[in-house]
Every structure is written in structure tokens, then in C-alpha cells.
């Protein structure tokens, strides 16, 4: 493991408190509050009006997606407040295509971007939220097999798994999310939010400063979410989960009443944490994407256990270990399956026999599993046909 990668035991939301949630229909929004915030890192939004964007990851690889906006980080190295982050909000271009920070004129062209995270000045970094993490997922063992096993198709031997693609759902497709975000009442010290759809963690979002949150709150609707969350949105109904009520019998004075209400708030916080087990219980592999002193932009991916919920995401940590920015994405089960199979294959040098042995199944079964997961193009047609025929004979 290089110095750029590390393993995290859960995503600790240190220094952040979870406030009681606001529930609308099937969407539960848990505000994350921070009491003391640092002023030396600020995020703001940059709108990309094009229909899609091509990002040059390295000279041979291009990442293409719908990218509604990028985030721009401004920081200071001496810990002082970021100068001008407020003014960049107010900047008005007089190009006839924009109003405030909204672009009014749309054209069909593609935006070409260089790098997921690109330094734009001494203390300015532009990166594409969630796409940093998604690119990491897509690049997982992207190169294909290192040894020329005979089962693999010539296309894979020549160019790896290119092109790899995943489908995601934009936030406005999720039933009820738009209303919930619109009606949400932002807290005073709020710097983040956990989004639950059908009481399942859809995304976590944290920014460094409360004013940044107020400005970026509505971008949650343009972010992308897992297909699973989209499905949950449809059958989610209003849910009423509440922690244990206050203990009436223990109250003998108004001070007791106040104490009990404080305890109730704590119980809400505990319950929110309990409802997001993926934040605490999972093991994450984290990898540094960009270093800008004293901060690190990292992307992380959970251990891809197909039986549990899995998240990918990106985060900015300060050198003192505090979380400054985070955005996560819940993988759908098919995405998890694909990533899991790839990581297992890579772990066994792409040897199908060994991998099948490790997974506890027959080689032919593994071949069919690969095909079902959408990796049929990796293997020669006669290998697939053979596996299918043999499995059929076994079943009959």
C-alpha cells in the first residue's frame, strides 16, 4: 500500500452533530451541525450548462458524464479566512448568457475538462463532486487481465474493460426528494446533511462552512443517486420512527424537564447514527486524489460486500484529521456485484479457476455470473456457450 492509500474504519463524522431529522413523505433529511468552523477553506459552485462533459483523466482515458456543476475550493495556507469567497458569489458576467450564477442560455456542445481535480491558481482547486468517486469506481481494475488467459476476448486483451459505464439517476427523478429539499428548514450551524430515502442512507453531504452549505443546499437535487434509491423513492411512504419519549415520572422540576429534553435530542442523534450503519461499521479503502496543503482530497470505497450496503464517495480532510467536505453515493446491488466480481478476479490474477474456488462455486457458474453482471464481453463467445451448455446439462 502506497502512502497515498489508507484504510478507514467507518466514516467518522467527528465534530459534527446530527440534529433531529425533518421527514417529508419517504424522505428523511438529517441535518449535520458544526459548532466551530474554520474559515480557511471554502467551497463554491461553478455551473456547467452543457449537456455533458468529457474529462481527460489521463492521456489515454476520457471520462464522459452529465456534469451539472463543479465545486471550487479556495483555501489559505496560514489558517486565515479565505478572502473573496463571498465576492465570487456576487460576480455578474455580462455575456448575455447568464444571470447571477445561473446560466440561461444552453447549447448542445460538450464541455471539455482537464482532470477531475485541477489546480487553478495558488490557492484554488476545481473538482467535480461525486465524479471523483465515480471515476475511481469505473477505473477499478479497468486495465483488465495482466496474464493472457485464453478465456478472455481479444478486445479485453487489447484495451482492457474500455469503455466501462455505470448508470445513475439524477436527484430530480427521485420521488419526493425535490419537495423535501425545497421545504427543508436549514439550521443555523448546518454544514451538511444525510439523505435517507425510505430510511436507507442515500447520500451524505458535508461542506466546510455554514454559508457554503446554505449556497450549495439546492445542488443536492442535481447530484446523482443510485438506481436503488430511485426505486425506494417510489414505494416510500411517510414513516414515523421516533426515539423513546422523555421519562415523565423522573421529572420533579423544570430543570428536570430541560434535562430530559436535552436527552431526547441526544437520543435523536444516536438514532440517526444507528440508521446509518454504513457510516460507522464498514471498512473503507481510501485513496488520495489531490494534496493541497494543509488539505487532502480523497476518494473512498467500502469493502464491496455484496450482502451489505456499499458506498463510494470523496472527502477533504484537513491535516489535523477533521472532515471538511464529503459526498457519498450509495451503490446499487448490481453495481456492487460488478465491482465485487472485478475485485475478486483481480485478486486472483484473473484466473477463473482460482477465483471460482475462492468464491465457492464452479468455474462455469462464475462465468455465468460474470455474464449476468454485464461482463459477457470480457470472455470469448465459445467459453460462454460452453459454460451455459455444461450448466444446463448439470441442472437437467
Amino acid at each position: 500500500m502506497s502512502d497515498r492509500a489508507r484504510v478507514l474504519k467507518g466514516l467518522q463524522l467527528d465534530g459534527l452533530t446530527m440534529a433531529p431529522p425533518q421527514v417529508l413523505g419517504g424522505v428523511r433529511l438529517v441535518p449535520l451541525l458544526r459548532d466551530s468552523q474554520r474559515d480557511d477553506l471554502r467551497l463554491s459552485r461553478r455551473v456547467y450548462p452543457e449537456n455533458f462533459a468529457c474529462v481527460e483523466v489521463d492521456p489515454k482515458t476520457v471520462y464522459t458524464s452529465y456534469v451539472p456543476h463543479g465545486l471550487v475550493a479556495n483555501w489559505t495556507t496560514d489558517g486565515g479566512a479565505v478572502y473573496g469567497s463571498q465576492m465570487s458569489q456576487a460576480a455578474k458576467k455580462k455575456d448575455g448568457k447568464s444571470y447571477g450564477q445561473f446560466i440561461t442560455a444552453r447549447n448542445m456542445s460538450c464541455r471539455g475538462l482537464r482532470k477531475m481535480a485541477r489546480r487553478e491558481g495558488k490557492t484554488q482547486l476545481r473538482f467535480l463532486p461525486l465524479h471523483v468517486a465515480m471515476e475511481g469506481l469505473l477505473a477499478l481494475h479497468f486495465g483488465g487481465p495482466d496474464i493472457a488467459w485464453t478465456e478472455y476476448s481479444t478486445a479485453v486483451m487489447r484495451s482492457g474493460l474500455s469503455p466501462r459505464s455505470e448508470t445513475v439517476v439524477s436527484g430530480d427523478q427521485i420521488a419526493g426528494l425535490d419537495d423535501a429539499l425545497r421545504l427543508f428548514e436549514i439550521h443555523e450551524n448546518q454544514v451538511g446533511m444525510l439523505i435517507f430515502v425510505s430510511d436507507d442512507l442515500a447520500s451524505a453531504f458535508v461542506v466546510p462552512h455554514r454559508d457554503d452549505y446554505a449556497a450549495l443546499h439546492h445542488t443536492l437535487i442535481t447530484d446523482f443517486y443510485g438506481e436503488l434509491i430511485w426505486q425506494y423513492g417510489f414505494y416510500a411512504t411517510e414513516n414515523r420512527i421516533a426515539p423513546e419519549p422523555i421519562d415523565v415520572d423522573s421529572i420533579d422540576s423544570i430543570a428536570d424537564l430541560r434535562r430530559e429534553i436535552d436527552a431526547l435530542r441526544t437520543r435523536w442523534s444516536e438514532m440517526n447514527a444507528m440508521m446509518a450503519p454504513a457510516m460507522i461499521n464498514r471498512v473503507y479503502r481510501s485513496e488520495r486524489v489531490y494534496r493541497f496543503k494543509p488539505f487532502n482530497l480523497e476518494r473512498f470505497i467500502s469493502d464491496l460486500d455484496p450482502s451489505a450496503e456499499n458506498h463510494i464517495g470523496e472527502a477533504i480532510y484537513a491535516d489535523d484529521g477533521t472532515l471538511q467536505y464529503m459526498k457519498t453515493y450509495r451503490l446499487s446491488s448490481s453495481q456492487t456485484r460488478r465491482a465485487y466480481l472485478l475485485s475478486q478476479l483481480a485478486g486472483h490474477d484473473w484466473n477463473l479457476e482460482l477465483c471460482a474456488l475462492a468464491l465457492g462455486c464452479r468455474k462455469n457458474e462464475l462465468i455465468l455470473r460474470l455474464e449476468n453482471a454485464g461482463f459477457g464481453y470480457m470472455l470469448h463467445q465459445h467459453v460462454l456457450d460452453g459454460a451455459r451448455a455444461k450448466e444446463k446439462r448439470l441442472l437437467s
Binding site: E185, V248, I251, L264, R265
Partner: protein
Amino acid sequence: MQTRDELYAAQKEASEREDLILFINTCFAATGQTEYYSSRSCGQVSIDFLHRYVLANYRTVYRRVLAAGVNDFNRARMVLNLLAAGAPTDKAGRDEEGKLLSATLRGLPANRVFALFARLRKAKINNRRSRAVVRDYLRWRSNPAFDAVKYRTKVRVAARHAHLDLGREIGHFLFRLKDQKHFETPLFDSFLRAHYSKQAVYELPYSVAEGFASRHEIPRLEFLRKIEPQMTHAEKQRMQSTAERVGIEKPISDMSRTPLTKLATYVIGLPIEQRRNRVAELHDALNAAAEKALRKRPLNIGKVAAVLDRSRSTWGSRERRRRPLAVAVAVHYLLAASANEMRSFWSPSRIDDSTAVAAHDHVLLVEAGGQTDLGSPLLAAIEWQPDNIIIVSDGYENAPADAVAQIVHAYRKRLSRTHPIAFIHANPVFDPDHFSPKPLGGSLTTIGLRDAEDLGASLGFAKFASGEASQTQLETYLGKLSADLIGDSHV
């Protein structure tokens, strides 16, 4: 030991009482407009259902609610439904309903009544009683010529629909305007001349003149300056901000004439710098309005704490801008002006940290924002040990949810022996999903509140809403109110 019949009778009464409380609370709060949390169409379906249901099952109560001081929107709707339903068969009921209808119409603003008449035609309601009601109303109006000009289309629709003879001159004005060369009535004559004379435009009511002004292409600035004497009080007030924007002198509107909640809505709608600059003037105006409201209907509830919501949802909707916040501000001023000792406790906001506010403070500077944390101000209010706590909120509590209900429940159970406090929740927002203003949990009574001025009337219903009084008492109470209303209008 209760027999089964007695049990059923008791249950029936309880459910009937619930129906009626639901309806009356709704009639105080619902306006058929978009709310922060719900859409317009959703609200209207819900209100419609409730009206039909109560009319079909409890007709006597339904008509008597007209006298209970519920809002104009619901009164107009009730009149329409009663007219559509036809007259009751028993004579006493018929008499009472007729008198209530005419008294209600006379209490409603004219524009609402004429809109109601237009709806009669659209709904194809044209029974003998509805024709008589329209006829009597138009006969009662003091200045039919003015009505005919200002509400020309609607009066014409009503007259045609109800087969009315309004007299030769008005008839010609409404139906044969183009054949006329001359009118005896000066206002009709001005209307005729305004078609070609710019000068005659300024003799007309403002809303009518506006149309002619655009026809003559009179510059807006010039028009506003010259039409000012013709503006009504409400129109002048609406014009205030526009006047400032287009750069003419603001029309002098007498703030002392504006009712409290309306004034509060106006003040809260001003930009915060303007409110700061004029704080003394606005504060005095609100105080004066509150005192005036109290002279009409005194309020005596002892030492009182108001727990007021200023979360983001109190900005209201596009149609009801800042209404919930304005009601909360108006309640503060109303209680402050009453002789009672009072203090108000505001929910925490993003902008301002102060929670407890004394009676004489400048409350009009509040801004809405942040989450609905009613628990903290309620605890502060309880510590102050008042006799009454009035909570004004839209019923959506989220930081944490259900805290108010638990605090009230715990206080009642454990602490009220040393110092009893009466809790009440007044809600200015209708929640269509639950056919009533949204309650704050089961342990305290929720009442609908239209304007802050009606706090007394709404509190009158609180004992029914809490289930202490029986249905018979409710009906007697309504009967007394309606007898008062009929008596008043026929003196």
C-alpha cells in the same frame, strides 16, 4: 354500568363533536390558497369535501358557523353551498337561514359577494331563494351606481342571472351602454366620457380607471399621481411600495385605519432596512392597531406567554406571503397591548439569537429562517411561570419533532400542581391532508386562527376543541352567536 346503547350514544356524540370541531377549526384557518407545505388544488379538494360533509350531516350547525367569525373565504363558500342546497323545509330553520345569509352577505367585502354571485351562475344555481338573496343584497347596497361601475361585469351577470330590474338608468348602463349618448347619473356619465376623454378617467374608481389609462396610454407616473384621490384605503396601501419604486410621492395611507394582522403583513413585507429606519413609527402603528382591536373585543387572560414560530416555513407561500409570521407578530402586539402581563418567546432563527422578548420590544424586526425548534422557547416560557401559554405555529415541528407534546404532557402530569398553566396551540395554516390545522401532538388543543384579532373568538372554541364541553353546549353556543348576529343586523 353503561348499557350498550348509552355507550354507542356517547361514542356517536364524541365523533360528531370531532367532526364539527374539525370543520370550525378549518373555517378559521383555510383559505384555499397555496401553503408552504401543500398545494392549492390539494387544499381546495379537502375544503370542498369538508363543507359538503358537514352541510349534509349537520345543517343547523353549518349555517350557524356563519356567525362564529370564521374567515371570509369560508363564509362565502358556505353561502354558496347553502343556496345550492335549497331552503330547509321547516319554517324556523328557513327563517334563521335566510336571516343568517343576508347578515353574512352584508358583512362580507363587496368584491367577494359579487364574485359569489358570479359563481352562482357558473354553478347554475338559480332557485327562488338565491334570486331573492341577490335582489335583497343589491337593494341594500347604498350606492348602486358605484357598484355598477366598479363591478360592472359581475353586476351584469348577477342581474341577468337573477332576472332583476335594477332601474332604467342602471339597466341601460349595464346592458345597452353603446346606444347611450348621455346619462343622468354623474358616475355613469364619467364612464361614458372616459372612453374618449383623458380627464374623465380620473373621476372613476381606481380599478376601473386603470383600464382606461392603458387605453389612453397615459404614462403610469402621471396616472398614479392624478388618480390618488379616487383610491380606497387598501389601494393606497398596496400602492406604497410601487410608488417608491417608480419615484412618485407615496399616497398618504392612514395606518391607523388598517386592521392589526393586515398591518403586520404589510410591515413584515417591507425590506428589513426600511423596517429598521421606520421602527418607531411602525411599532407605534402596530400598537395602536392592537389597542383598537382590543377595544372591539377585549382579551383578558392574565399573565401570558406567547411561544412564536419564526422558522423558514413561516415565510408562507407565494400566495400567502409571510402570513404565518405576520400572524405571530400580530399576536405579540395584541397580547402586549392587552392589560395582561406578557412576554413572547421566539423559536431560534439563523439571523437573530434573542429568544425571549418583552412586551415593549420591537418585534417587527423578526425575520423567518431556520428550523422549527419549539421545545427551547416553550421551556423558557414555562420557566417564566405564566398562567397561559399560547403557541402560534404551523404545526410542523422538527427540531426535535414531538417535543412540545412531550413537554406539555410531562408538565401537566408532574408539575402543574405547583403552578397550573393552560396551554393552547393556535395555527394559522390549513393542512389539507388531515382536514384541519395540523396539531402539535395529542396533549394540547389546536385551534385555527385567521387573524390575530380573532384570538378571542378562536379561544372561545378552545373548550369545545379540547373536548371539555358537549355537543349540545357547542350548538347552544353557536345558536347564541347566530342569534346575536341576526339581532345586530336587524336593529
